[in-house]
């Protein structure tokens, strides 16, 4: 069975900037795939090349075994795209816009209305596209990408600018279409989102893919310390160090910032039992490494141009 996406050695240069620098990736049919990376990492460019909007300087891309460039009309009905910036006729209303896009795919009016309902824009059906708020326009853009039930969906930062309700509703929607066996590729800056939704993610920077894998695997590979914290004042930091040394808890770092006492460790079990013995469990919080830690470790902490 052919993969939904198979890209090999893709490069794209804009003047001095090597926006995409040798990206190879495979996305299987039915997979939920995330592309992460700081601003300017090359996510949008990569996505646009995969979609067939842009021509790569080098490399080969196949979607379902077909080349998306030059514009491949056999492929177009099977994919749905949402661009990072919305692209509408300002003078058309929300409803007219979704119907227009529905007509491109020969999809019925009912389906168009259902899609509008699905992204919560039914009440705004009569509003002109240029009068929608940022998040509303984003939702319309997503609705247009999904109106024809594509097999493969590309979403470029779909949840940027969405309020928490809209974000969760969109998650539900994306999970639903993924559960139907459709392939979803998205970029996002919300790492919790990637962790929750994606089967696999790639972390990109400077046009290269640094790491690819299931979010849980990446986090585990990071082998980062677990942070156990309780309310400050229940037990002092030096006392805690002593107690942990007594039970042989290995290398730990104890820190008290006046609000919470935090112990960073690779073996949380003895830490927890010591705290329990001391009756110092008020405000207990155990926090493991997240995808965010993986991301920061891979891409560093400094700002991107």
């Amino acid at each position: 069975m052919t993969s939904a996406i198979a890209a090999d050695g893709v490069r794209k240069r804009y003047g001095d900037i090597q926006a995409v620098d040798g990206v190879s990736l495979t996305v299987e049919t039915g997979e939920f795939y995330g592309v992460l990376g700081p601003n300017g990492a090359g996510k949008t460019t990569t996505l646009e090349i995969l979609e067939g909007v842009r021509e790569p300087d080098e490399g080969s891309i196949e979607l379902f075994g077909l080349s998306p460039w030059p514009r491949n009309s056999k492929l177009l009905p099977r994919i749905g795209v949402q661009f990072q910036a919305s692209a509408f006729f300002d003078q058309l209303t929300t409803r007219e816009t979704i119907r227009l896009f529905a007509s491109f795919y020969r999809v019925g009016v009912r389906r168009a209305e259902a899609m509008l309902e699905r992204v919560g824009l039914t009440d705004l059906a009569g509003v002109h596209a240029d009068k929608l708020s940022g998040g509303q326009a984003q939702r319309l853009s997503i609705a247009c990408a999904l109106v024809h039930d594509p097999e493969l969906v590309f979403l470029d930062e779909p949840t940027a600018g969405l309020d928490p309700q809209a974000r969760r509703n969109l998650w539900d929607l994306l999970r639903d279409i993924n559960a139907e066996g459709r392939t979803v590729v998205l970029t996002t800056h919300y790492l919790d989102e990637a962790e929750i939704l994606c089967d696999r993610v790639s972390v990109m920077d400077h046009g290269k893919i640094l790491k690819t894998g299931a979010p849980a695997t990446l986090v585990r590979e990071l082998d980062d310390k677990v942070r156990v914290s309780v309310e400050s004042g229940l037990v002092t930091a030096p006392a805690m160090c002593e107690l942990l040394a007594e039970v042989g808890a290995g290398s730990v770092a104890v820190e008290d910032d006046g609000v919470s006492l935090t112990v960073a460790t690779n073996t949380p079990a003895p830490v927890l039992s010591v705290l329990a013995e001391q009756g110092a469990l008020r405000g207990l919080e155990v926090r493991g490494a997240t995808l965010e830690d993986v991301f920061l470790q891979l891409t560093g902490r400094e700002y991107r141009a």
């Binding site: 909007v53 009905p77 994919i79 003078q91 119907r99 227009l100 491109f104 795919y105 009912r110 066996g181």
Partner: protein
């Protein structure tokens, strides 16, 4: 001896058979041009196997039933769901119309503004040659005084002659424009006609009248019957009436401006707002996008035409249409395509709306002045005429003048229409080299 030259009443009488039954070409271009069936079959029917079977069928009542249940199908279910499928071409055309109509500025500049121009110019030049020319006769003028009876009545129809002795006062009135000319007996057998050049139409007609009077008198003086008598044709008489050339001229200008600017600006806006790129990601052919745009621009041009002809035909302006006036419809359609190709070129070259505006103006402004829209090019230097002959507006103006007011037939405008389409093809080819779907 008779003065047929200026017989306005006979001129207008049989001029245009008022054929109310003549074919009214309303929405013909739409149904005749690329239909929805054609534009879709190319692309939409393809896709994955399941949907491929559906093919590019017409929407029928039966289909609604079959698809109704599959709203929430699993993967690979037929995507053509819903009661009524929408035709891409129809929806695109609808969108294009809504975009034009909802933009108040577009409506104003394409429809209201040109009609205002017609009203203004029409009113300004209304009294041009039709009404009496007012002539002061200073002292005795043998030529005029010798005209009697029926001939005199004919003369009075076109000239209102007042007698005066005060030459200086009459001259002052001519300068002020209160009188159109003064005539007096010069030395010997000469006749002195003095007129102001400010109103060319009137001065030309006064000159013409006296010339013909003079010739007839000269002829009579020889004592022989006239060998040749000049019978001016109806067409020339009508062309004296300003509305007869103002209407085709201003109409051509309005259509050219509308088609060039709207296609240029729409193209740039759609590109800048990434709509073009988004449309390209949809399984519709570029042809159907272009066709819908052309269709809408044609509708606008035909609306302009109908408005212009209706306004000019009111009794106030009194436009007289000649037999084959309906030929204006195919003519306008071809011209619109030619003008749109200019907009395509400027819109392809420009990255921003401001630049598109500038480029378009750079072409439209000289074209308007060089094409006889506002004034006749008869007296223009040869090179200027040559320049104007490279521009489609010139052909629209002469062509529509021909079919609207000069009794031109299909053979008069067929080469013009062919030329316009050829022009469009050439410009479209050039534009394609600069065209891009995307900003970046």
């Amino acid at each position: 001896m008779s003065i047929e030259h200026t017989d306005q009443s006979t001129a207008t009488a049989g001029a245009s058979p008022q054929e109310d039954e003549s074919p009214r070409p309303g929405t013909a271009p739409q149904s005749g041009k690329p239909g929805p069936g054609k534009t879709e079959s190319g692309e939409a029917g393809s896709g994955k196997a399941e949907s491929g079977k559906t093919g590019p069928g017409k929407e029928g009542p039966g289909r609604a039933e079959t698809k109704a249940g599959s709203e929430k199908g699993g993967k690979g279910s037929d995507r053509r769901i819903g009661a009524e499928r929408l035709s891409a071409f129809r929806e695109l055309s609808r969108a294009m119309i809504l975009i034009s109509v909802r933009d108040k500025a577009t409506v104003f500049f394409l429809v209201v503004f040109p009609v205002m121009f017609l009203l203004l110019f029409g009113t300004l030049f209304k009294d041009g040659a039709t009404a009496h020319a007012k002539v002061a006769q200073v002292g005795a003028v043998q030529l005029l005084d010798s005209v009697h009876g029926a001939d005199r009545a004919q003369l009075d129809k076109v000239l209102s002659i007042t007698r005066t002795r005060d030459e200086a006062e009459a001259l002052r009135k001519v300068r002020k424009g209160d009188l159109d000319a003064l005539i007096e007996q010069g030395k010997g057998n000469t006749l002195v006609l003095r007129f102001s050049g400010s109103d060319q139409v009137k001065s030309a007609s006064v000159k013409g009248i006296f010339n013909s009077l003079l010739q007839q008198a000269n002829l009579a003086a020889t004592g022989k019957p006239a060998t040749y008598t000049l019978k001016s044709s109806r067409i020339e008489d009508q062309s004296l009436k300003p509305i007869q050339f103002l209407t085709p001229g201003l109409l051509g200008w309005a259509i050219a401006t509308g088609a060039v600017f709207s296609s240029s600006l729409t193209l740039v806006t759609m590109r800048r707002k990434r709509v073009l790129r988004r449309l390209r990601m949809a399984p519709i052919s570029a042809g159907s996008v272009v066709a819908s745009r052309i269709g809408v621009t044609m509708i606008i041009a035909l609306v302009q035409t109908v408005l212009f002809i209706s306004v000019a035909s009111t009794p106030y302006f009194g436009l007289e249409l000649t037999g084959n006036w309906w030929l204006i419809v195919p003519l306008v359609i071809c011209a619109t395509i030619a003008f749109m190709s200019i907009g395509l070129l400027t819109g392809s070259l420009a990255k921003t709306e401001e630049a598109a505006n500038g480029f378009s103006q750079l072409i439209v402004l000289p074209m308007s002045f060089l094409s006889g829209s506002f004034f006749s090019l008869d007296d223009a230097p040869g090179w200027l005429k040559a320049v104007s002959q490279a521009m489609p507006l010139r052909y629209l103006v002469t062509g529509s003048e021909s079919v609207l007011t000069r009794g031109g037939g299909i053979l008069d405008v067929l080469p013009t229409m062919g030329g316009m389409l050829l022009f469009a093809a050439v410009l479209a080819t050039i534009s394609w080299r600069f065209f891009s779907w995307d900003d970046a």
